[in-house]
Structure formats: structure tokens, C-alpha cells
């Protein structure tokens, strides 16, 4: 039963159904689109439930060969790294569609684009044939561009174009590298070319080839992450995008880059990954501090959250290139938790934007008195994003920091200062918007979050707490797949993961009465 193919196909089916809705009946579009986004979630849950925990190999694999000559085939599978990203995507779409109630102009094409976007994203995380991966990588670009340029706010044209140009340049390098790699793999296998990821694992690449291909893949993913120098598209894209688009953009699109680094750069080019680990980690750390520093002084709340995403993605990159089990697992968990927390923050900002149509922090003041529930939720999401223990943000960050210290001590200490900066920019924003007397008379009349809005936020709140309090099931599913990458790197390069950097290295703790009680008086 080709579960994953069904999962990828469902949103497209949804898109077609929505597209075929009669033009006049616009009131039907919203409920049906929401309805059509539920099946992928159900299938994703099925995959999550039936995912064999300890097994590190690819599961639910499907392999249909398109053209033998060029070695392109439909190969989809899921493993520890991509599992939770798929579930997160499947979860966030119904939520963001539900939150798109305020979209009025041509809702139908909006919903169609959203569902196509979902297919693209699911495809990216599941495809193991690089050609198909690249196809989905591009499919994601078009709907996101249209969502921003058609439904965005003031200078959406500039922001969406900038978003496309940045990503497209990256994709150009990516396509070239994919084809090169496919041909090299093909040569070593006797066919013209092979885009199958598993064959690529077997190819021996000279170190120069590894460097070039690493750079090719790396640039595309660095722009997507976004890594420090390539991040300027993010704040613009976020501020101008409509609520649902910025939720998906922050929660899932950014993770395509990080996922790409883990899945392709670290696995396929271990030698290059090891030697380039430090410079990229440095860029990550610079991103953390730089993103946080800029977030502090942003006048626009959405731009502030965008820069905070740059900072959090910096942690993920640091974790990815620290090459220890804790760091890698932590960065995957952080990918999930950042999706939840930043998604929640953007949803909340969307809700207040629907009421006041302004994102300037200066226009707000004393909102907590007028909208206590909203204030409570915003503080909750902000603290989760700032990495408060007991919530999802902390778990990922803690694992990344502890893991990265083993191999990159100085960098990690600098990175951990991001924790302070996060508290500063979030709480200062909270203070200016929510506390103090109600400055702006317009705010007095606002009504608090309705039942529907609270219902939208509920799943995210529950998951943030759940992931924060009991993340063990998530860690257990991710760790094996990350372990393979490290084994592969240790096997093919002279890099040694420190003893504590392995799950086996973590000391066993025995509980119960401590024997030498009573001591020697």
C-alpha cells in the first residue's frame, strides 16, 4: 500500500477539488479546503504511529522507475530525520488554512496554492530520488511566490521577487550539482546517470568532487536556511506574506535547507562536510548573535520574529555541523520546535493584525488589559521560542548546546549567549506591546481571541508543552537515523566523534537508595 505516495498525492487531489468548485459558491471554498487538508494529516499520523522506533533505515520505502536510461525514478521513504518534518507539515496546513479566514480576495486560488504548496513540501521531505527532490524543491517556490505577491501587504512585490531570486539562484547551483552527481553515480554504475539517493551513497567521490558538490548543494541550502550572509530575503518575505504563508514559510520552508544539509551534505560528502564544518558552524553562530541583535531593535513585530527565526536557524546549523549525536538530534528537534513556536507566534500576530491592521510595536501598549487571553498565549509562545525549560524550545537548544560543546567548545559558548539575547528581544517586545497603561484608544475596543482562534492555537500549545515535558519518544525516533550519518562520517573520514558524543557514551544512572547513607560521623 503506497502510503507515502498517497500522502503526497492527497493535497493535490484537494487542490483539484477546490479548483473545481463553482465560481459563485465562494462560501464553500474555506470549509472544503479545510476538509481537504485533513486527510494528509490522517495519513501522516498513520505513518507516525507505524514508524518502527529503533529502526534507523528508511521505512515505508517505495520505488517506481520512470526512465531506466536516465536513472530517474519515484523513490519515496521516510526515516527519523524526515518523519517529524512530514508530520509537522501535515499538521500546520489545516491550522494555517483555518487561520486564513480573513482572506477575502479570490479565496479559491489561495486555497489551491496552499494545497499545492503542501504537496511540494511533503515531496521534498520524502523524495529520495534527487531529480524528484529537486522538482518538489521548485514546486514549493511557485505557490509561495504567488501567495506573497498576491495576498501580501504593502511592498509585497519587492519581497516576493527577492524571495524567488534568492532561492532560484540557490536552486541553479543545486540542479547543476544534482545532475553532476547523478552522472558520476551513473558512470560508476554503468548506466548514463542515476538519481537514486541510495546508489549515490555507494559512489566514491574524490575530495575535490566532494568539495565542489558540497558547495553546490550547500549554497542552495544555505540560502534556504537562511545562513548568515544569505538571510536578507527572510525579513522582507515574512513581513509581507499573509499570515498562513508566513507560518508555513517559517515553520517548514526554512527547514528544507536544514534538512538538506543533514540528508545530503553531511551524508553524501562526509570529507567535505568535516573540513567545512567549522566555517559553516561559525556562520551559524554569527547568525544566532546577529539575528538576535537585530531582532531587538525591530520596530515591526513580524520582522522581529523573522530575525528571531534567523537566530534559531543558526542554532540548527551549529547543531548540524557539530557532528555529535546530541547536537544532530537536538537540531532536528529544534527544527520541529521552532516550527511550532514560530508558527504559533505568526498565527498570533496574524490574529492581532486582522483586528488592527498594523504590525508596528509602537502602535500598541497595554494590550494585556484589553486582551488577556491573547497576551497569555503570546507570552507562552514567546517564552517557548526563547527556550524556557519545560517547553519545546529548550529541549532542542539544550541538546544542541550540550552536543556542540563536545566538538566546538568556543563557538558553543558564544552561541549560548543567544539565549540571553532571545530573552531580551522577546520580553522587551512583550513589555512594549502588552504591559503598561493602554496608550492607543483604538486598542480599548478590541475583542479578545474567539473560540475559533483559541481552537487553532490549542494543538500547537499542547504540542509545545508535550515536546517540552516528555520529548523521549521524539528523541528515540530521531537518534538512530542520526547515528547512521555519524557512523558513515567516521567510516569515510578520519573524524572521531568524542566518546560522550555517542548515545553509548552517555553514562548509565542507577537509582534507588544511595548505599553509603549515614556517612562517617
Amino acid at each position: 500500500m503506497p502510503v507515502l505516495t498517497i500522502l503526497i498525492a492527497l493535497p493535490i487531489v484537494g487542490a483539484i477539488v477546490v479548483a473545481l468548485l463553482p465560481k459563485r459558491r465562494t462560501e464553500l471554498v474555506y470549509p472544503i479546503a479545510l476538509g481537504m487538508s485533513i486527510p494528509p494529516l490522517v495519513v501522516a499520523m498513520y505513518v507516525l504511529v507505524n514508524f518502527r522506533v529503533g529502526d534507523a533505515a528508511f521505512q515505508f520505502a517505495e520505488n517506481v522507475v520512470f526512465t531506466e536510461a536516465f536513472g530517474i525514478g519515484w523513490i519515496v521513504a521516510v526515516d527519523g530525520i524526515s518523519l517529524f518534518m512530514v508530520v509537522l507539515t501535515a499538521l500546520l496546513f489545516p491550522i494555517s488554512i483555518a487561520a486564513s479566514r480573513s482572506i477575502t480576495s479570490n479565496v479559491k486560488s489561495y486555497m489551491v496554492l496552499m494545497l499545492i504548496l503542501e504537496t511540494g513540501l511533503l515531496g521534498v521531505f520524502l523524495a529520495l530520488d534527487l531529480f524528484v527532490f529537486f522538482a518538489f524543491f521548485e514546486i514549493v517556490l511557485i505557490p509561495m511566490y504567488l501567495l506573497i505577491s498576491l495576498w501580501g501587504s504593502e511592498n509585497r512585490a519587492y519581497a516576493s521577487l527577492k524571495f524567488v531570486l534568492f532561492t532560484a539562484t540557490g536552486s541553479a547551483f543545486l540542479l547543476a550539482s544534482i545532475i553532476a552527481l547523478a552522472i558520476i553515480t551513473g558512470d560508476q554504475m554503468g548506466t548514463l546517470a542515476s538519481f537514486d539517493f541510495r546508489n549515490m551513497l555507494q559512489t566514491e567521490l574524490s575530495s575535490t568532487a566532494q568539495f565542489v558538490l558540497f558547495a553546490g548543494f550547500g549554497i542552495a541550502f544555505a540560502i534556504k536556511v537562511p545562513l548568515f550572509p544569505f538571510h536578507t530575503w527572510l525579513p522582507d518575505a515574512h513581513t509581507e506574506a499573509p499570515t498562513a504563508a508566513s507560518v508555513i514559510l517559517a515553520a517548514v520552508l526554512l527547514k528544507m535547507g536544514a534538512y538538506g544539509f543533514l540528508r545530503f551534505n553531511l551524508t553524501l560528502f562526509p570529507e567535505a562536510a568535516v573540513s567545512l564544518a567549522v566555517p559553516l558552524a561559525v556562520l551559524g553562530v554569527v547568525g544566532i548573535v546577529y539575528g538576535a541583535a537585530l531582532a531587538i531593535v525591530q520596530p515591526d513585530i513580524k520582522r522581529l520574529i523573522a530575525y528571531s527565526s534567523v537566530s534559531h536557524m543558526g542554532f540548527i546549523v551549529l547543531g548540524a555541523f557539530a557532528l555529535t549525536t546530541q547536537a544532530l538530534t537536538g537540531s532536528v528537534v529544534l527544527m520541529i520546535s521552532h516550527g511550532l513556536t514560530t508558527g504559533a507566534l505568526f498565527l498570533l500576530v496574524g490574529m492581532i493584525y486582522d483586528r488592527t491592521h498594523t504590525r508596528e510595536i509602537a502602535d500598541y501598549g497595554g494590550l494585556a488589559r484589553v486582551m488577556p487571553v491573547f497576551a497569555g498565549m503570546f507570552l507562552f509562545a514567546a517564552l517557548a521560542s526563547a527556550g524556557l525549560p519545560g517547553l519545546s524550545g529548550f529541549v532542542g537548544e539544550f541538546a544542541v548546546l550540550i552536543g556542540s560543546y563536545l566538538t566546538l567548545p568556543v563557538l558553543t559558548v558564544i552561541a549560548s549567549s543567544g539565549v540571553i539575547l532571545a530573552a531580551i528581544y522577546l520580553l522587551w517586545a512583550y513589555e512594549r506591546v502588552f504591559t503598561g497603561p493602554v496608550t492607543n484608544p483604538k486598542l480599548k475596543v478590541l475583542r479578545d481571541l474567539g473560540f475559533r482562534e483559541v481552537a487553532i492555537m490549542a494543538p500547537l500549545v499542547v504540542l509545545i508543552i508535550g515536546l517540552g515535558v516528555y520529548p523521549k519518544p521524539v528523541f528515540d525516533r530521531i537518534e538512530p537515523s542520526v547515528g547512521i550519518i555519524l557512523d558513515r562520517i567516521e567510516a569515510t573520514t578520519d573524524f572521531e566523534v568524542p566518546a560522550e558524543g555517542r548515545l553509548s557514551g552517555v553514562a548509565e544512572i542507577e537509582y534507588g537508595p544511595v548505599h553509603e547513607s549515614g556517612g562517617d560521623n
Binding site: 531587538i296 539565549v419 523521549k472 553514562a507 544512572i509 537508595p513 547513607s517
Partner: protein
């Protein structure tokens, strides 16, 4: 009886959740009652387990709850030993009293249930911190406590100063937590685990002095952030913006002592790093001195108590710095009682004076508020270190231990003595200005005694402020034996003969009495002495440390961020991107010029190219 211990954490948490979500519907009395009941229940659960240690039948135990982050070996587990027992008793005990006190104090506040939700959240977080069996869980409690202090300080968030104070407290705490976090990283890198048992048994073998010093100093940074030591103490005076019971519970009795508790808990590591011990001792003494000097001139009753807390914390840090962990914990316990008492008393006075906190507008309250007067008197004598009261025993033990360390520590002892003098002076000044002398408040207010719910806790705390000291008199050192199992492998203080202890005790008593009489004489007369010397002014504005930080750290930080946001990002990085775009456009237009539109021009070009191509193919093909 120890298997119910997890309830000590769960119950307050449950109370917090219930009050947070259903508080409004429950209505004031029920919400308040629930939150008090929950804390009392936790206290009740902990009592038998603590008594087991007193009777010697109990044993130190780690109880596994659930695996939290497997990949770093962080589990949720409870370590139950005398140290955590004492701390639990203090937190839940004093906590319960303060909850009862708050029933009266907070009556009529529109966000009443939410206040009790946050109080319960604080107790739960403090319990996570105290009961944790590994550094990771302690760090969770550490930050959650910071969160609840943020929520409670900025409880009256409509006041901008309260919101700012809350934010300041959280951020300064976060700086401390950063130090703690880095220490955790080094710990994991050296031990591969966070579990106290494993670490403390293997530490002497594995840990080099350098690593030990690094870890302990970083842990101390965390402790300084939480226990308001130099340089991270600036948040505590501002934290007085919160309701008084909050100041009593968090900023006097429990949270601020978390730093001292953590150092006591990790005593084994601190013993391996004598250098950091010395640093801690010096910082402790310095903080005590500076805080005392500031407290002397404060006019706001809560500010006096705030700086006095910082000063007393300085003493506790000095104690753990010189290795007298039990003395530190003992002072922590007694301080919890009399400082909570003083704060609640001050709260009762403020409540009676309808919010007035300036001592210069008080005076002569003795007749109107007899119970508060008597209990505050006990608190005042206890903190000044007068003979039978709790403060005398614990503070004296610290000074004795510092003296016994000998060498340079004698200087610290002397400074400590001077601070004890100052403490006695400013506490007397506060006591006399509020209760004795001519009434100085204007006509509008007519103070009256606080209701029973507020005075009963005062009386209970008064009793403890008197009796607590007797627990650990030099003769029997009962408290020290009680804590023995927690400090396995930690050397005792040497060179303390009974004779030396007694003489030192007499010396510190004399100093305390001198301080009291000095204060009494200065403030007994009806007109207050003019406090306008240069020292007074500077001391009143806390030596302008706050705006020094503002100028040196906050302002430049903001300037750098604004520079980055306005120039670096848009110009340099975005500029580079735009530059590339412009370059491509220009290159495009240059090529454009070639399209002349002249058809024949193209034909000519093609023809010439054709000829050249043919010759090229010929050359390549070897035609010539």
C-alpha cells in the same frame, strides 16, 4: 513514604494550572483556598520524610520519575537527602504561611486567582530545583523559578515600572542562567552525565583543578544571578515593584537562596577548586558590604529590606565560599524565617498605611499595630544578631568559620563584622522610624491592625525567628549532624575549639548591640536626623550602579543593534544582493546595444563568423 514525593512538585503545579484556567470561575475564596491547600498538602507530605532523617531511620534516596532527554542522559528524578529535606521544609513551610498571608493582602485584586496561580507555579518550580537529582532538572527548576519571579514582579503590569522591573529581573537572571548553562556543557563534556551521584563520586578522580575551577566559577555566575550577588544584584531592589508577599516569598526566603543551595549541593565540586572558593568568599563579603552601605540610607521600607536581603545573601555566599556549607544553609534557614517575617510585617504596615512605603511618612505605629509591632521587633532583633534570636547563632557561625579559615580570610571576617554592625544600625533605624517616634503621616490615612489572616503568619514566623537558632547551638550542632549525609566527602571546618567559638560569639554580640544602640540613639528623638551628607545622597541612589550599567552595557548594546539594523543589514548585506542585481542589469544593457536593428549588420556579422568558423574547423580538422 518517599514514593509520594513527586506529589510535592505535582500538587502546586496542578494548583497553578487549575487557578490559571478556571480561577475566575472559582471565585476568590475557593481559588485562594485551593492554592493554600495545595502548598500545605505538599508540606504535609514532606514532613514524615524529613522526620525520618531526624530519627535517623531515613536514608538518602534517588527516585526515578521518567526519562526526559535520553540523548544527554537527563532524567526527571528526585534526590531526597537532608539538604533537600531542609529546603523543602523551608519552601513549603514559609510558602504556606505566605500563601495564607496573601489571602488577606491580595483581597479585592481583580486578577486574584491568577496571582495564586503564579505563586503555586513558583512553589512547584522551586520544588523542581530543590528536589532534582541531576543538574539538567535543576536547570529546569532554575529557569522556571526565574519565570515565576518575572510573572509575579510584573503582576500589576499596568504600572510600567513593574513591567520593566519584571523584564529586568528575568534578563539579569538569564545572564546568570547562561553561566550555569556553560557550566553544564563542561560538566557533560567531562562526566558524560548530569546525575549528582555519579558526578560527585567520580569527580575527585576525573576532574582536574582547572576544569573544576571553570565549572565552579560558572556555576557561581549562575548563583550570582539568582542570589543577587555583585555584579548581578541590580534586579532585586527593582523587584520590590511586585506585591509584598511576593517580595517576602521569592525575594527574601526562597528563590534568592537557590544560588546558595546549588553551591551547597555541589559542595564536592567546590571543594576541588579552592581558588573559586576564595573568589566566592570575597564576592560574598563585598556584596554584603555594598548592600549594607546602600541599605543604611534607604527611605522606602521595602528597599531597606531588599538591600538587607542582598547583604544577608552575601553572608551566606561567604559561608559557602569558605567551605562552611552547613553554616550557610543554617543561615539560609533562619534568614528565611526572620526576613519573611520582616517583609510580611512591612506588608502589613503598607497595607495599613494604604500603600504608603516611605518611612519618613510613618512613625508611632506602635500603638495602632501592636501585633505587627511585636513580631517586627522579634524580626529586627533576630536579623541584628542579638543573643537569643536566630540571626545571632547563624551569622555568628559564619563569622566563626571565616575566622577559623585564617590567613587572608581574617580580613573578610573583619569586614563581615563591620557589616553586622551596619545591619544592626539600619534595621534599628527602620524599626524606630516606622514604629516609634512622632507619627508623621498626613491626616488622610488612619492605620489599623491587619486582619487575622495576616497577623497569624507573622506570629508563627516570629516563633521560628526565636527558636530556629537553638537548633544549632555550638554545644550540640544538631543541625550539622542532621545535614551530615548530604555532605559526604566534604571536609569539616578545622580549628574551631569551643573557647574560640564563645569568644567570637561574644565579640559579634557586642558589635550587634553597639549597632542597635547607635541606631536607637540616632533615631529615637522625634525629629529625624538630617541625612544629607555626600555619602547619604550617593548611598540613597545605590551608588548609581544601575545607570552605570545602563551607560556601559545597555546603551552601547542598543547602539550596536540599531547600527546593525539600519546600516549593516540593509546596506552591506542587502546592498551586496542589490549590487549583484544591478551588475546583471548593466551587463544586460551593454549586450543590448549590439542589437542595432540593422538587418544587414546582422547578415554581415553572420557572414564573417561563417568564414571564420570554416577556417577554424579546417584548422582543427587538420585541413591545412
Amino acid at each position: 513514604m518517599t514514593d509520594l514525593l513527586w506529589l510535592v512538585i505535582a500538587l502546586p503545579l496542578l494548583g497553578a494550572v487549575v487557578n490559571l484556567f478556571f480561577g475566575k470561575r472559582l471565585g476568590e475564596p475557593v481559588a485562594g483556598g485551593l492554592s493554600v491547600g495545595v502548598v500545605v498538602a505538599s508540606w504535609a507530605i514532606a514532613v514524615p520524610a524529613t522526620l525520618s532523617f531526624v530519627t535517623g531511620s531515613g536514608q538518602v534516596e534517588t527516585i526515578y520519575l521518567f526519562s526526559w532527554i535520553p540523548v544527554v542522559g537527563a532524567d526527571a528524578a528526585i534526590l531526597w537527602d537532608p539538604l533537600s529535606a531542609v529546603m523543602t521544609m523551608i519552601v513549603t513551610g514559609v510558602g504556606a504561611l505566605i500563601h495564607i498571608y496573601s489571602l488577606g493582602y491580595m483581597r479585592g485584586d481583580e486578577r486574584y486567582p491568577r496571582f495564586f496561580a503564579f505563586l503555586n507555579l513558583f512553589i512547584a518550580s522551586m520544588m523542581i530545583l530543590v528536589l532534582s537529582a541531576n543538574f539538567a532538572m535543576m536547570f529546569v527548576g532554575w529557569e522556571l523559578v526565574g519565570l515565576s519571579s518575572y510573572l509575579l514582579i510584573s503582576f500589576w503590569f499596568t504600572k510600567p515600572e513593574a513591567a520593566a522591573a519584571g523584564k529586568k529581573a528575568f534578563i539579569v537572571n538569564r545572564i546568570g542562567d547562561w553561566g550555569f548553562l556553560v557550566a553544564l556543557m563542561i560538566i557533560f563534556a567531562t562526566f558524560g552525565t548530569f546525575d549528582f551521584g555519579t558526578i560527585f563520586t567520580t569527580a575527585p578522580g576525573i576532574l582536574t583543578v582547572g576544569a573544576a575551577t571553570a565549572i565552579t566559577l560558572l556555576l557561581f555566575v549562575g548563583a550570582a544571578g539568582k542570589s543577587a550577588q555583585i555584579p548581578l544584584y541590580i534586579w532585586l531592589p527593582d523587584a520590590m515593584e511586585g506585591p509584598t508577599p511576593v517580595s517576602a516569598l521569592i525575594h527574601a526566603a526562597t528563590m534568592v537562596t537557590a544560588g546558595v543551595f546549588m553551591i551547597a549541593r555541589a559542595a564536592v565540586l567546590f571543594e576541588l577548586a579552592p581558588v573559586s572558593g576564595a573568589v566566592i568568599a570575597v564576592v560574598g563579603t563585598l556584596t554584603a558590604l555594598v548592600a549594607a552601605l546602600i541599605a543604611v540610607s534607604q527611605t522606602d521600607i521595602k528597599k531597606v529590606l531588599a538591600y538587607s536581603t542582598i547583604s544577608q545573601l552575601g553572608f551566606m555566599v561567604l559561608a559557602v565560599g569558605v567551605g562552611a556549607y552547613t553554616a550557610g544553609v543554617f543561615h539560609l534557614a533562619t534568614h528565611a524565617f526572620f526576613k519573611a517575617l520582616l517583609f510580611l510585617g512591612a506588608g502589613s504596615v503598607i497595607h495599613a498605611m494604604a500603600g504608603e512605603q516611605d518611612m519618613r511618612k510613618m512613625g508611632g505605629l506602635r500603638k495602632m499595630m501592636p501585633v505587627t509591632f511585636i513580631t517586627m521587633a522579634i524580626g529586627w532583633l533576630a536579623i541584628s544578631g542579638i543573643f537569643p534570636f536566630a540571626g545571632f547563632w547563624s551569622k555568628d557561625e559564619i563569622l566563626a568559620a571565616t575566622f577559623a579559615k585564617g590567613g587572608a580570610f581574617i580580613v573578610l571576617w573583619a569586614v563581615g563584622l563591620f557589616v553586622a554592625l551596619l545591619t544592626a544600625f539600619y534595621m534599628t533605624r527602620m524599626f524606630v522610624m516606622t514604629f516609634l517616634g512622632r507619627p508623621r503621616w498626613d491626616g488622610g490615612t488612619h492605620p489599623h491592625e491587619s486582619p487575622a489572616t495576616m497577623t497569624v503568619p507573622l506570629i508563627v514566623l516570629g516563633f521560628f525567628s526565636v527558636s530556629a537558632g537553638l537548633v544549632n547551638t555550638p554545644a550540640r550542632l544538631a543541625f550539622e549532624h542532621f545535614l551530615e549525609p548530604s555532605f559526604v566527602g566534604v571536609p569539616h571546618i578545622k580549628g574551631l575549639t569551643l573557647g574560640l567559638i564563645v569568644t567570637l560569639a561574644v565579640v559579634s554580640l557586642v558589635v550587634a548591640l553597639a549597632g542597635v544602640t547607635w541606631g536607637w540613639l540616632a533615631y529615637r528623638r522625634d525629629e529625624l536626623p538630617a541625612e544629607d551628607g555626600a555619602f547619604w545622597r550617593r548611598s540613597l541612589e545605590a551608588f548609581a550602579v544601575d545607570d552605570f550599567y545602563g551607560r556601559v552595557i545597555v546603551a552601547p548594546g542598543k547602539r550596536v543593534s540599531t547600527w546593525a539594523a539600519e546600516t549593516m543589514d540593509p546596506r552591506v548585506i542587502d546592498g551586496a544582493a542589490h549590487g549583484v542585481a544591478r551588475g546583471v542589469l548593466r551587463f544586460g544593457s551593454v549586450l543590448g546595444k549590439l542589437q542595432t536593428g540593422q538587418v544587414r549588420g546582422y547578415a554581415g556579422g553572420m557572414a564573417v563568423a561563417g568564414v571564420i568558423l570554416i577556417f577554424v574547423f579546417l584548422a582543427v580538422g587538420g585541413g591545412f
